[in-house]
């Protein structure tokens, strides 16, 4: 008879090998292929002896396995090294500069997708069998195939360039950023009562989160629709109706019950959300982790790329862990 505690511990421990494998693979491949960050930065301008000296200082001339071990030691103590380019700032700092942007985008995208999904799913379920139902189901299939960069660009063109209603890139008008408390502009501007920044941040968030939200909403549409239909056909609903309970109350109860599987779906969708965020960030020039990763890849900034991958891996693992634990708490059948 396995216990809940054992389950949680096992799941938590499983995070480690995942991150380790990913990190190792990226570490070695990055170093095997030609090109390194120092050469990329100054290779043209600097005499060979100076280049060698700079590389030596960055520790790039040590044997690979020694570099690897030193890096691992660092990671275990929370030190992800320093970026190899530009300001040579600690990678952790650089990640913390970029992560809140991704987090904010992901949260708002997520909210949008659930809202849209639930809305369309509910409409489909209540209008079951009609043309509206069919169109909602078509929506759920088509939505996911809207290629994010393309869809995002269309929105930018329409709302940003033609109508000039909304900004097309960045998180906020430069200079308007609220005081940093959490790094999430919306929250920070509310906390500092900065109305100007709040409106500015929200207007920059609207298009990107709409893009992400629409594309990801399809899955929720479907699942909510099906579960809602199931629930609506159940006895207790008929009983409610027979007793003359108002239709609104019926809807409320039905939705509550249909919602549970949606919660588990949210956990599964998380990975897709992060992936979608990368493309959204590129399209809307959003300075988040996705932009960071891609930027540093080009410069072979080893430490930053590794740090970003480690960060993603740990983040995803943690969220999956939480979702699994929540699910296990809800469903007593799941144990190891």
């Amino acid at each position: 008879m396995a216990s809940l505690k054992a389950y949680i511990i096992t799941r938590a421990l499983l995070v480690i090998p995942t991150v380790l494998i990913l990190l190792t693979v990226v570490f070695f491949i990055l170093r095997i292929i030609p090109g390194d960050p120092i050469t990329a930065m100054v290779g043209q301008k600097v005499p060979p002896e100076v280049l060698e000296k700079l590389r030596h200082e960055a520790g790039l001339d040590k044997p690979i396995y020694i570099q690897y071990i030193e890096y691992l030691k660092g990671v275990l103590t929370g030190n992800l090294g320093r970026s190899m380019i530009w300001g040579k700032r600690p990678v952790i700092e650089e990640i913390m500069d970029h992560f809140p942007a991704t987090l904010e985008l992901t949260i708002f995208g997520f909210i949008m997708s659930v809202l849209l999904g639930v809305l369309t799913g509910a409409i489909a379920a209540f209008k079951r069998g009609s043309k509206i139902d069919t169109s909602m189901r078509i929506y759920s299939i088509v939505a996911y195939t809207l290629f994010i960069p393309w869809f995002g660009m269309l929105l930018q063109m329409f709302f940003g360039v033609y109508l000039k209603l909304l900004p097309i890139g960045g998180r906020i008008t430069p200079g308007n950023a609220p005081e940093t408390i959490t790094g999430l502009y919306v929250i920070d501007s509310i906390l500092t009562l900065n109305f100007n920044a709040l409106v500015d941040a929200l207007s920059h968030l609207l298009l990107p989160s709409l893009t992400l939200g629409i594309v990801l909403s399809g899955a929720y549409t479907r699942i909510l629709r099906n579960n809602l239909i199931d629930v609506l056909s159940q006895d207790f609903i008929t009983a409610y109706r027979a007793r003359g309970v108002s239709e609104w109350k019926v809807i409320k109860h039905a939705m509550k019950n249909a919602f549970i599987p949606v919660v588990t779906l949210m956990g599964l969708q998380f990975a897709i959300l992060l992936a979608g965020a990368v493309l959204t960030e590129t399209t809307f020039s959003w300075p988040g982790m996705g932009t960071f990763l891609i930027e540093r890849i080009e410069y072979r900034d080893y430490t930053s790329v590794q740090g970003a991958i480690v960060f993603y891996a740990v983040f995803v693992a943690l969220i999956s862990l939480i979702v699994d634990i929540v699910y296990a708490l809800l469903d007593p059948r799941i144990r190891y």
Binding site: L30, L146, P149
Partner: protein, 285 residues
Amino acid sequence: MEVKNLATTIFGVIPKTEGRYMVLAGMAIVATVVIMAVFAPFIAPYDPIKSSGDVLQPPSLKHIMGTDNLGRDLFSRIVFGSRVVLSVVLSASLVSMIVGVPLGLISGYFGGKLDRVLSMLMDSMYAFPGLILAIAIAAVLGPSVVNAIVAISVVYIPTYFRMIRGQTLSIKAQLFVEAAKAIGATDFKIMRKYIFPNLIPTLVVVFSLSVADAILTEAGLSFLGFIVSAPTPDWGFELASGRPYLPAGYWWMITFPGLMVMLLSLGFALIGEGLSEIYAPRRER
């Protein structure tokens, strides 16, 4: 024991559920693109790589999708671009299938420690955002079609694994499998003769749906510059190339490539969704 055969499903009677229309619509789209890819040199009116002389022309009778900033005909580039998309996506999916299906079958059938280890590995890969994994692999290996195929195939292996494993588990529990064991059939024979054929319907659905997803992943990688380098045409890449011109009003450079990505992905998605409707129809109406 009757085996549901792919051939009978398609060429025979497609059950008249609404799934039928979805499958037919999807197949029509996919067939069009495949024809485009196979017969590209005959369909494309211009050389996709050479300038035709008219720079930045909007869609017209001469150039139905317009031209780009170097004067190349966009329709021709789209037609040839379909070759890259299809070859990358189909090859990658094949590799994923060849690796993921047997692993899922064996893992589901034998269970035990092997199953636990594989499942853990596959689950953690599945949980990791696909595009980011593909970016990490393709970026470090360098932009090329082959590397993209490697990257994308790695991303989808867990999908096949999980689905096949799940189906294997449920088929394994059925009576006829126990019966086969009772008469002394070997594991391998059971897997080959009894389980695998019943996996095919699921496999087809999973294939269609994951190809639909892989198209979006390929387009994403291409958009970020990790697959082709100019002047080879590829839809995602065209989108990125046309982007600086969009605010100046040159809309056609991105509209058509993005539309194609969506349509092709939709085509496969419709096939997958339609088929899954047919095999497991919803119980209303």
